[in-house]
Amino acid sequence: MLYALLCYNAEDVVFSWSQAEDDAVMDRLNKVHGKLHDAGKLGPALRLMPTTAAATLRKSDPPVVIDGPFAETKEQLLGFYVVDVENLDEALAIAKDLGQANPGGSYEIRPIRLFLPGNFPQDAADQDLAATEPA
């Protein structure tokens, strides 16, 4: 079974950490990451930039781009993509494409600060997910 662990915290507090505090937290996390990595249990992990760097595409017709993070509390986080693009405009173009295929809701587009690719063997992940699919 694959699980996603979503990280929540007060960003104004976290982004007020001094470099030394931030490094100390990352050191502690990296020890945990290392254990998971060795056990082959760590998939991709990432650290996002603060919401001040975010834009949101509301998948209305036509789609609307809003500055800032996704703020609606009636909708829930149902998935996410990681894309490698030149700039925000390219990321928004991809979001619009996806939105045409799957209208409704929003995409928050948030730059990534730190990306750890993880070490799942791809077929292990495939098998894991295949086992959960309905026959």
Binding site: A10, D12, V14, M49, T52, A53, L88, P111, R113
Partner: protein
Amino acid sequence: MTDLAWIDGALTSARPQAIGALLRYFRDLETAEEAYQDACLRALKAWPQNGPPRDPAAWLIMVGRNAALDSKRKLSRQDELPSEDLLSDLDDVETPMAERLDTANYRDDILRLLFICCHPGLPATQQIALALRVVSGLSVKQIARAFLVSEAAMEQRITRAKRQVGAGDTPFETPTPEERDARLLAVMAMIYLVFNEGYSTAAKDAAARIPLCDEAIRLARLLQRLFPSEPEVMGLTALLMLQHSRAAARFDADDAVILLEDQDRSLWNRELINEGLALIDKAMRHNQPGPYQVQSAVAALHARARRAADTDWVQIEALYRALEQMQPSPVITLNRAVAVSKVSGPQAALDLIAPLEAPLGGYFHFHGTRGALLLQLGRTAEARTAFDRAIALANTVAEAAHIRQHLDRLMADSATG
């Protein structure tokens, strides 16, 4: 678990909102600060026991207000204070109420608090000191260290600034859109001053002053959360991040300034650069260029160049030209001249800055730039005169050391040549 580091972080980040709201209640900076202090002391007692409140700022506002009202009552009637538990125990019925009371005014409260620090009667350095003390909550000792003055002198400076601000006439009513725009502009300028105070410094003082840069970035992020769709605020935040990204590469082992083109770019902070670039992308979508956006676009072109030789000087020259039109100033023309020298050669740049002798004759960078251009043209005697004048006008040891390197090279060249 509510550890002290967490409480410290929560108190610091709730501070602008809490003091801003308390200032609106009491209309007096001193009372607002005392009420906030009081609430913090209670938080340090209550939070480890009861766990952190859902909204620390709302908690601090309610408790601070109650405590200040009670101490006023106590002063006037000599009544006994309610018990500590009663004062600090806000149940879940009261907390949402506090949120409703205060988040409606959230943005204007913080903006007003920041704006009060930009009082036009205060010299720039006092505006900065006041903002760092009142909004950021740095201790007088920390601020004194950053300004390289004694604690007593800084204490006096801040007290004087507070008195002047207290006598000011910033209205407490909700500002009109025009008033809000004017406040925003003043606050952006003040945040940039805080940053520059930390940035324009000698290497040996850099460690003490870097907190000023970090603090300016924190304030800029705060402003951006209040005004998420203002492209100039995005531009300002991006500008600070892109400039600060080079902090580790700016000085050599002898404390001399290392020019942008000679810096080891692997020392640049890529996280800050990427965040700055992301903000510029956001700002550009608005198609409302402004001075902070243009300056951040220049900084972005430097940040994007992996090697100095890859720098897009044509684009930088065009951006400085745009900036000159928005904000005509000889200093901007001087900056454009550096770009012109890269695009069209040193003579064209020298022609451009010739008329600047009068307005910038007392400016270190004017003579430094002029000397470097003359040197490129092989006019060594004139270059030496320009460098001598630059050294005489240097503000920091690092600036002087940098020019001295040019002079040493000139001496060495003339000895061997």
